[in-house]
């Protein structure tokens, strides 16, 4: 599985550093955070470093009054732009120009947020795709946006409607973004996760690519469904899809600026104070990034000094998180479906053993502790295995 950087506030330098570090990689650019000129410049830098750019048009809430979004030339003048041929042509024409200027490797076609899956709202995605074709953008270069509110994800009643629509679109794949239930950072709702896996697997089995945007490390599970790429970033608003952040006028970007250390083998993040506690219990090594993962961006935390006294700030934390996730993503998919599932289960089981041990000493990740999400991942995997496992096993090598 591939990893992409989901651009957000303050990510210019991180993007350049990490793409250089990785010898390549992709960055999904954000109109919410970048002007057109900035996107062109950043994309050129990324390309020079061996990477490539995608552009998320972020037309999730077309009638928003978000100043930075509405300043873009492609932003619709009317909310339901897909119903007005002239406005649709204008919006898509501007996006074609911008994608061309940026030099994107694939074209993410816009679509509004779907709060309940209906043929009408799915038609919005198709309208964009058809207009792109009219403008000469080949379907095999296009990813159709599927943006789902949390209730739309969970609801099984329209699962076939969604899968039929995805199959019918003349596109290379989908760009899936999904709102977490109850604004949770790590999802504890097994049905939400199971439905995400089902959507991904269904699309993959029809030959479509799947790029999942706005992910946390919890989406490593998507490898079992055959996802091609997951994307994540620095702040929470690029690690989970926040529809409100695309609607609000000049929202306060970052309200709390704690520094979190990601323990990749535990799928959990910790404030430095808890690393201090762990050190005092001689448990700090249990949180250290294990070989063969490269944890160099956070190595200073395990140098022997008290973690809260060392120079490990949010920049290091972000790079450590993304570098670890890049490595974990690369090995998330195994040679067979069964092996992929088993590997994820082993990751969960090993994480659980250590997490329970740490919890006894109140060394916890608070809102970023994976203990409460373990069973959701397990349940989602079990359902995927039951419903699609035999076919995924058979067709794995072609996915």
């Amino acid at each position: 599985m591939q990893f992409a950087l989901q651009f957000g506030h303050g990510m210019m330098k991180h993007s350049r550093v990490l793409v250089r570090e990785w010898g390549g990689g992709s960055v999904i650019l954000s109109p919410r955070d970048l002007s057109a000129e900035q996107m062109v410049k950043l994309s050129a830098d990324i390309t020079d470093l061996g990477g490539f750019a995608l552009l998320d048009p972020q037309l999730y809430v077309p009638d928003c009054d978000h100043a930075r979004l509405t300043a873009h030339s492609f932003w619709p003048q009317i909310p339901e732009y897909w119903r007005d041929p002239a406005e649709l042509a204008r919006v898509m024409g501007e996006l074609v120009r911008l994608n061309s200027d940026v030099g994107t490797s694939q074209f993410i076609a816009p679509a509004p947020l779907i709060s309940a899956i209906t043929e009408d709202l799915l038609q919005a995605a198709n309208a964009s795709v058809e207009e792109l074709a009219r403008l000469g953008v080949r379907g095999d270069k296009v990813l159709a946006t599927v943006a789902l509110a949390s209730d739309a994800v969970r609801n099984e009643d329209h699962a076939e409607l969604l899968s039929d629509a995805i199959e019918s679109w003349d596109v290379a794949g989908i760009y899936l973004v999904a709102e977490h239930p109850s604004s949770e950072y790590l999802v504890t709702d097994p049905m939400w996760l199971a439905r995400i896996l089902d959507i991904v697997a269904g699309a993959r089995l029809t030959g479509k690519q799947v790029v999942i945007g706005y992910c946390t490390h919890q989406m490593l599970i998507a490898a079992a469904a055959g996802a091609n790429t997951i994307a994540s970033g620095t702040w929470m608003n690029v690690r989970s899809f926040p529809p409100k952040k695309f609607a609000e006028r000049d929202e306060e970007e970052i309200s709390r600026r704690a520094t979190w250390y990601y323990a990749p083998h535990l799928l959990s993040e910790y404030k430095k104070g808890y690393l201090d506690i762990a050190r005092n219990h001689s448990k700090l090594s249990a949180l250290q990034t294990p070989a063969p993962l490269d944890g160099r961006f956070a190595a200073v935390l395990f140098s022997g000094a008290q973690p809260t006294t060392v120079d490990f700030g949010e920049s290091d934390a972000f790079r450590h998180y993304l570098h670890c996730l890049w490595q974990q993503t690369a090995t998330a998919r195994q040679n067979t479906f069964r092996e992929t599932v088993q590997q994820h289960e082993q990751l969960l089981n090993a994480a659980e053993a250590t997490l329970r041990d740490l919890h006894k000493l109140y060394i916890v990740g608070q809102g970023r502790d994976f203990l409460d999400s373990l069973d959701a991942n397990r349940a989602a995997l079990a359902l995927l295995t039951s419903t699609r496992g035999p076919i995924l096993e058979r067709e794995w090598s072609s996915l």
């Binding site: 699962a159 076939e160 899968s163 039929d164 089995l205 029809t206 699609r388 035999p390 076919i391 058979r394």
Partner: protein, 284 residues
Amino acid sequence: MAAAHALAPALLAAQIPALSNITFVTGGGQKFVYRADHATHGPVALKVFSDFADPQRTQREIEAVKSIACAHVPTIYETGVITGGPKPYLWLVEEWLAGDTLRSRLDAGGAQSDAVIHLVARDVLFVLSEAEKRRIVHRDVKPENIFLATNNSKCWLLDFGIARHLDLTTITAAGAGLGPLSPGYAPPEQIQNYKDKLDCRADLFALGVTLYECLMGVNPYTDGTVDPGERMRRTLARDLPRPTREIDAGGQFGDLVHTMSWRRPSLRPRTAAKAYEWLRSIGP
């Protein structure tokens, strides 16, 4: 002539001069089967269907089905329409098959042997994959339409191109707006009359349910009820459980049957060809 009763052999002989020695074999409702001798083809089966909307369209479809030309579909020699009565009757003359239906085997003996199950799966999936190449959907796969040779050497899938034109009066008044289907074997998309969603996967569902019944001796959708409405409700409400009987070492046959019988079409094998390929890959 009342639609509920078989047509008299003498009347049939008058309408179809190539046939002689016409004797009633079985039938009721919309379909009657006779044995006859054909001047050219020897022993044949004469099937007469009543209560269908468009005999000309049905005949055209039968011609399309003849193009399947597969060893597991009875060869259709001739077709025609009997007119002159209160309703038209479609007839077709096809090769005479020696054996019995899977329905009669299930009624007599419950769960079937491994050999019969393999035979039915292999031959019917082959037919469905051949039909799929010609974009033909059977729409009425069920034990009544699967015929096994007496010596279990092969089986046939019967009555292609017929079901979609039958006005099945077994459907309750509440379901009268539905297309033709056999409750207990028809998939949800057929029950819900999603005509443009019907493809080979509908036949895979019906075959999956049939094979489940062969494995376990019971069809949960029909067990204990003859009410078509109840059968349809059960089909819409729940998936079949995975069969607990295994007939291959790796449990793959059970996986295949389970996968074919998911209520959601997108969870089933995408094509009959893929299902057939899966079956062929299953070892002992």
